[in-house]
Symmetry: C2
Subunit: 175 residues, 2 copies
């Protein structure tokens, strides 16, 4: 399959793919992304550390799980550990894989690696220039209610909270 | 906020946004997308109509809910009805909103509108040129197992199945 780079936009680049099909060659535009790590930070008392994150793409703040883009060659577990500390201040003693998803595979190759972080101790945040992020500690039952009511609109956050619940990871936690 | 179009790639276009922040102007590249409709088609016997969809962006088939891009000015409920028929052949007597998500709001403004389709009757599919789609009827419990085992890797499909389950929409259904 032929691939031609059309534009480089820092976090992602756009390529044109030419695929041979039964109907002849088919051209498609695809955005290539290095992938992301997403963290479900569960405190011992059953609260989840979500963040309020102003998103310029949709021009409003969204309630999200902490997350970030993989650096070149970086293991996604390390991205998870780094972004959790930068965006929330929390350091985790345990980071375990939860699931992986493609965010929008019709036009975008971004793969998101989701983790559950536990054994959390607070520390200093380290936001990048221009990041507008405010951590919010929310009991897990309330966070699930915010998914059901659609107050939470971010796809990866819906996946992280519902998948952690479906796997029983909140059981026995307060909150 | 200033916005400049840098590239037009059929389904999406890339723009450069300039935002005023406390640290001065900040430039960001964002991909703009018209939005998508996603359908959770629940048969009377409790099976879900998923599709196996070859995705050129990730170079493999993914198991997904039927979905499609909004046409200009199209109500997402109509997109849902149209894409359900085209990709699976099923016509629905009821299309009800389930939830909405942003697929990857760090770089992409795509909003996905999820619906539950019931009262399904089979009919003829109408795939677009080059689409490689095979419908698969799967009992809902098995579909949830495929989410938990990560055999299902598509974000919108994880959201649709887990949200429908969390809202009790599979209750009383066989499968």
């Amino acid at each position: 399959m032929e691939e031609k780079v059309l534009g480089d936009y820092r976090i992602f680049r756009v390529v044109e793919l030419t695929q041979d099909t039964d109907h002849g060659p088919r051209k498609r535009f695809v955005a290539r992304h290095p992938g992301a790590a997403v963290i479900v930070p569960i405190l011992d008392d059953g609260r989840i550390c979500l963040i309020e994150n102003f998103r310029i793409a949709v021009n409003k703040p969204l309630i999200e799980l902490p997350a970030g883009t993989l650096e070149p060659g970086e293991d996604p577990t390390e991205t998870a550990r780094r972004e959790l500390a930068e965006e929330t201040g929390y350091r985790a003693t345990s980071i375990e894989p939860l699931t992986t998803i493609y965010s929008s595979p019709g036009v975008f190759d971004e793969q998101m690696h989701l983790y559950v972080a536990t054994g959390l101790t607070p520390g200093a945040m380290a936001l990048e220039a221009g990041e507008q992020i405010v951590p919010r500690l929310i009991p897990w039952r309330e966070a699930l209610d915010m998914v059901i009511s659609n107050e939470i609109e971010d796809g990866k956050t819906v996946v992280g909270l519902l998948a952690a619940h479906a796997k029983g990871l909140f059981e026995g936690k307060g909150g």
